[in-house]
Symmetry: C2
Subunit: 347 residues, 2 copies
Amino acid sequence: MSKKKQPEELSELGEFGLIDQIASKTKLFHPETKLGIGDDAAIIQTKEAQQLVCSTDLLIEGTHFNLMYMPLKHLGYKAIVVNLSDIYAMNALASQVTVSIAVSNRFSLQAIEELYKGIHLACERYKVDLVGGDTSSSPSGLCISVTAIGFANSEKITQRTGAKHNDLICVTGDLGAAYMGLQVLEREKEVFQQNSQIQPDLASYAYIVERQLKPEAQKQLIEFFDQQNIQPTSMIDVSDGLASELFHICKASNCGVQIYEEKIPIDQQTHSTALEMNLSPTMCALNGGEDYELLFTINQKDFETLKDQKNIHIIGHITEAEAGKNLVTPNETVVPLQAQGFKHFNT
Amino acid sequence: MSKKKQPEELSELGEFGLIDQIASKTKLFHPETKLGIGDDAAIIQTKEAQQLVCSTDLLIEGTHFNLMYMPLKHLGYKAIVVNLSDIYAMNALASQVTVSIAVSNRFSLQAIEELYKGIHLACERYKVDLVGGDTSSSPSGLCISVTAIGFANSEKITQRTGAKHNDLICVTGDLGAAYMGLQVLEREKEVFQQNSQIQPDLASYAYIVERQLKPEAQKQLIEFFDQQNIQPTSMIDVSDGLASELFHICKASNCGVQIYEEKIPIDQQTHSTALEMNLSPTMCALNGGEDYELLFTINQKDFETLKDQKNIHIIGHITEAEAGKNLVTPNETVVPLQAQGFKHFNT
């Protein structure tokens, strides 16, 4: 009996063949996922007293990622993680995702498999079910759209709106690393473009490069809140830079903020690389973006529970709106915060 | 006091400005939508005993639409409708959508507003809430991703899997029109490209062109099933052509089909335009795609309730899998069905 030849090209496998192949490699973790890939829509069981949260992102080659230094497996992983981050930012746990991709014919079947390896790895790591999507061709470039779904009891869901005067402002992890990782990758890309014999040496930038290429979402914070019975008063994920996210909380909660420069968590590698590139580490943390840490506010009564958590940093407090949005420098100077944030449409 | 200047460029308005503008023009119809645009994720109240259905599509300029003849308002409308069609195909009602767009800098703010006019119009027409999304730039072309969410009692949700021997095969509306509309638009585009003085005369193709540019989804069928207490045994929307959808039902339900060529509903304009272009009207209906009609199977006991419905056509019946997938021609010849369907990756 002749062995069936494995298709090596997307055009040979076809859209339905590709969907079957993706579905066969997809594990489901939630009994609530009643139907995943393969029908007109996925079916998910809802639970009484829970609300659904839903978020979506579109990642475009040339705008959000550069395949010269972004391996496809990492890209797939990151595409999932950045969406889960939005669900966690609502104090909900993510349970399902849909992924749509459009690829130009310069992508081989193997390339698409690499992308889905990363997608499946993130789904496994965060225990979310890939339940659907869409695959098609694109005239140029790669385009990925992810929608994430999560559930939480309605009283736990946290918006940007609840920050109150004197609440503590906290952030997980460290900031500015992903941005500095991007600067290093861009620099090495230019060196490589000028002389392809020079291989990039990224060993001494391993942490910041990984933060750019393979970020993680802060699921453990949501689990911690649940275990400790802490209800944050407001929360947002740090995707566009700390300053921009603080502005969002101030606008939504009608408040001001005072944060302390020396309290902003910055990794040593971020710090030294910023100085090496003549950048201010604080500015990188404030405006860098893509950290996917969680920024949240809590009532002061929760201080005792939080204060010894290594991964949580208290960086300031909420003020009255009239007091403005301020950064206190180490020499006690008060500087108004500037939000540069995300400027996709500025060319 | 000086009047605030209205921004005319996307780069002037910025991403957050654009989101605010979209949000201000968005009406919500469902009390279950607890939070729409403006936070990390939307919040939707779920109901006991209901299941969530969720579907997503990615539309890419140059693959799924051509802006030479697709007005942006129509495109926005169609992007919503094609997703709602997937939700209706589960015998559920759609209630929320998210929309993400990526646009190159050749698009003006006015162009984006036109696109959202169509999106808002479809949301109003079908009573669905636009609850979130993402906006960014793209190095080239326009890219739209829509995710639709709907709810239904779990016992009503209809998959592709339940078709049984002797069930009747039904389809709404008429088939092949959107495909013929596309052929006319492509022909006129070529004429126009050769001589831009020649303006297209589409008056005698109005119906089929509208079916291509501004399709509608079959919400009223889902309402009819509910009112008449009819439970279809399987259902799918006709996006890739009748033959391809029948193949999906046969595969999922492990059955065969026998359909009758003369029963396939084809509009007179589709018929005459196909002949004008030396195409077989039946082939256009079988393989054309983009009809967004609903194809479903019912138990014969429901025949009496359905038979006088003008918009519903009984085109054949389900057979044992071994009998195959067959088309009976008007002269009683039995021809095996071929599914050409959707060949996005075939170049």
